[in-house]
């Protein structure tokens, strides 16, 4: 302790006494850092021990760590194939098919769950006693029973209670198609598919090759939405200047739908109706039981949570806002759309992100009803046929992590756009 008693040194370095090793433990300024470093060290030691254990055990078992199996022929078939696939293709390709199935289910699930959730959340606050109670029943039933059970229930209802394709056969069939276009069977729902007479070919993007026809349609739709946004902005500007809002509804309809219709016409789009051929319906689009069970199960389940989040968000906005809007003469619908929801969104979006992540991760329950998602292909059949559990699970974890972080990032961008701007 000589340094602190030496007046010259204290004068030279005010507040900086010489450093002693014991200060790491007894000086409050350093203690927390010491503890953190020690904890980190322990954590790394633990991880190293686990990894070393795995490597040792793998060596004892005579197993290697290799991803070569991804290039071997898979040998199994997959029913729902967004991209071309057959059993002679590789395990990697099968995993890609599973990945796309996961993404399709996650996107459609999030969309449907959001629609259901927002509707239910708003309606639960309705002044109509029956409506609000009905929604309460929906929310409480779906929220309090596990997802897996709901998925199995939807799957069982589809498989057990719908007619078999054979009952559509004969001159006086027991079942008939809705409008001669939609067939609801115990193997799924068959709906008409849109096909094109003119094929623009397909774009080759590595392993996937999306059809140029559909890319064109999507591009036109996006352009239409953007043009419509410009139109609305223009109308708002006119309203701000003159006080009169120009009528835009027919222009909006025209901008949104006319170009798409034109593209469809130019490419010779037609509907391909499902028809009974052999054992099953052929043609059209086949929405399989497994897909429907997953989609409905996940959407209704997550929708119930979203409903509560939306309700909470709306209730978080003070009643004075509504009263002020009414005082200005706004109708209830407009009050909700223009005053309440934009403010409520700030409260709603952060928990909504977790719900989207939950739904996406819950798609891995697909195997329960035989939905061929990433967990069923790479994490199920491939692991089982090749015995590469460690590698397969590792890839599976990385992929789900990547999907979740992407969703999180996108939603955070949206969140930062709508959150309260502080200037």
């Amino acid at each position: 302790m000589s340094s602190t008693t030496d007046p010259r040194q204290t004068a030279q370095k005010p507040g900086k006494p010489a450093f002693h090793l014991s200060m790491l433990l007894y000086d409050q300024r350093y203690r927390s850092i010491t503890i953190q470093i020690f904890a980190l060290f322990l954590l790394m030691l633990g991880a190293a021990w686990l990894i070393d254990n795995v490597i040792n055990n793998m060596r004892l078992l005579g197993r290697s760590f290799s991803f070569n199996f991804l290039w071997q022929s898979a040998g199994y078939d997959i029913n729902q194939r967004p991209i071309e696939y057959d059993s002679t293709m590789s395990h990697g390709r099968a995993a890609l098919v599973g990945f796309l199935n996961t993404v399709i289910l996650a996107i459609l699930g999030c969309i449907f769950a959001t629609v259901l959730g927002v509707l239910a959340g708003v309606l639960r606050l309705s002044n109509n006693w029956i409506v609000s109670r009905l929604i309460t029943v929906y929310v409480e039933i779906f929220r309090n029973i596990p997802t897996l059970i709901w998925i199995l229930i939807f799957g069982a209802v589809m498989a057990e209670s719908m007619p078999a394709p054979s009952s559509f056969r004969g001159d006086d069939p027991a079942s008939s198609m809705i409008f001669d276009a939609i067939a609801i069977t115990n193997r799924g729902v068959y709906i008409p598919a849109i096909l094109f007479q003119t094929d623009l070919g397909s774009l080759t993007l590595g392993p996937v090759a999306p059809s140029l026809n559909w890319l064109l349609v999507i591009a036109v739709i996006i352009a239409g939405v953007y043009a419509n946004k410009l139109l609305i902005a223009h109308a708002t500007r006119v309203q701000n200047e003159t006080g009169v809002r120009p009528k835009t509804w027919w222009k909006t309809l025209l901008i949104l739908f006319a170009p798409v219709a034109l593209v469809f016409l130019a490419l010779g789009a037609y509907l391909d109706y499902p028809e009974l051929r052999g054992f099953n319906f052929a043609g059209g689009t086949h929405l399989r039981n497994s897909f429907l069970a997953m989609w409905l199960g996940l959407s209704f389940y997550t929708g119930a949570f979203i409903a509560e989040i939306v309700r909470g968000g709306i209730l978080a906005i003070s009643k004075g806002q509504t009263e002020a809007a009414f005082a200005l003469g706004l109708q209830p619908g407009k009050t909700m759309r223009l005053v309440i929801l934009p403010q409520a969104l700030r409260v709603i979006i952060p928990p909504l992100i977790s719900q989207y992540l939950n739904l996406t991760k819950n798609t891995s329950l697909g195997l329960a009803v035989g939905y061929m998602d990433l967990r069923s292909t790479l994490g199920g059949i491939t692991i089982n046929q090749t015995g590469r559990e460690l590698e397969g699970m590792f890839l599976l974890m990385l992929t789900y992590l990547a999907i979740s972080l992407t969703i999180s990032a996108l939603m955070n961008v949206y969140n930062s756009r709508i959150k309260l701007k502080e200037r």
Binding site: W49, L60, L61, G75, N79, R187, G380, N384, T386
Partner: protein, 339 residues
């Protein structure tokens, strides 16, 4: 001080883990006092609990024989139901000592998955079951059909190959367990249920109207089913293997659970003597006692008795011996000599 305690505990736990690794499967089983057997999730005739919760069946019988040979008590077995997806990880991670759960012996499983297939206790093949009203008489008429299939099985691969080779298309409906496959099939969600013929027969026996379902004549694959152990413990593999051979040889030599005590004293056939432990000291070579095979046979009977009691033509499953007859009867069962 605290640090040393921690490091000490760390080293101790690592040491314990190391010791557990070093112990042989036989020692583990003996110390535990019971055998842990990986079984089916429930397949009538092969492995399923009965009304009293006691596991019964052909594969279960083999585990009981093994427990009788090793521990002297056929009931000292814990059965762990495993799906086709979980069975190999359960075996590899030492969760079970032996897997007796209609598992097909294939190259990749034997070599790449580091399993040891000790033999075949049932020669099977993959077949197709359809409802009678479908009016199908051959698997070649199944173009475009919806097929229920258990995922993670060799059947899945055979199915893909069979339809591709014959230029037919199909719609797979993957399911996790046999029970789920049967439910989907009975609900009409698939036209065809495919798996090993023995399992089809076992499923059909459990249906309300077995007569409404036909098993098509085509057998599209070889499925030698047998008990499996982990790679690397050769002594344990020998014990499991020769218990199976003892059951098979017992039938060939006419040793049954009924006459076993009598043969021990009266038989002058030296091979019977060696199996029953009155001669040769074979049990001690395995690390057991010389009565091991006698106990196994006394517990469940010889191969023929076990077959007849669980899946034979007098049972609801109603399987004929077929390929599973002794080699002297035109079948494939052939135990190496006890010599």
């Amino acid at each position: 001080m605290k640090k040393t305690v921690f490091v000490g505990a760390f080293a101790a736990s690592a040491l314990v883990a190391g010791l557990a690794q070093a112990q042989s499967t036989l020692e583990q089983v003996k110390n535990r006092g019971e055998l842990v057997c990986g079984s089916n999730t429930g397949q009538a005739g092969f492995g399923a609990p009965d009304a009293n919760g006691v596991w019964q069946g052909f594969d279960v019988g083999f585990c009981r024989a093994l427990a009788a040979a090793v521990l002297g008590d056929p009931m000292a077995v814990t059965f762990v139901p495993l799906t086709s997806q979980t069975r190999f990880s359960a075996l590899a991670s030492s969760e079970v000592d032996v897997l007796a759960r209609n598992t097909t012996w294939t190259f990749v499983r034997d070599v790449d998955l580091n399993l040891t297939f000790v033999g075949t206790n049932y020669y099977d093949g993959q077949g197709f079951m359809v409802t009678r009203e479908l009016g199908v008489s051959s698997a070649l008429e199944l173009d475009g059909a919806t097929v229920c299939i258990e995922t993670g099985t060799t059947t899945e691969l055979n199915l893909a190959d069979y339809f591709r080779v014959n230029g037919m298309s199909y719609e797979p409906v993957p399911v996790d367990t046999a029970a789920e496959a049967q439910q989907q099939y009975l609900a009409g969600a698939c036209d065809v249920y495919t798996t090993d013929v023995s399992a089809l027969a076992s499923s059909r026996a459990a249906f309300a109207e077995p007569g409404d379902h036909v098993i098509l004549p085509e057998v599209v694959s070889k499925e030698p089913l047998g008990p499996v152990v982990r790679h690397g413990d050769d002594n344990w593999a020998d014990i499991v293997q020769w218990t199976l051979f003892a059951l098979i040889a017992a039938e060939e030599l006419g040793i049954t659970s009924a006459n076993i005590e009598e043969l021990k004293t009266s038989s002058n056939n030296p091979e019977i003597g060696r199996i029953l432990g009155t001669d040769g000291g074979f049990g001690e070579m395995l690390g057991l006692d010389n009565d091991w095979a006698a106990r196994a046979i006394a517990a469940v009977g010889n191969y023929g008795e076990l077959f007849a009691n669980t899946i034979g033509d007098q049972t609801p499953i109603g399987l004929a011996r077929g390929l599973n007859a002794q080699w002297t009867q035109g079948g494939l069962l052939y135990a190496p000599p006890f010599r």
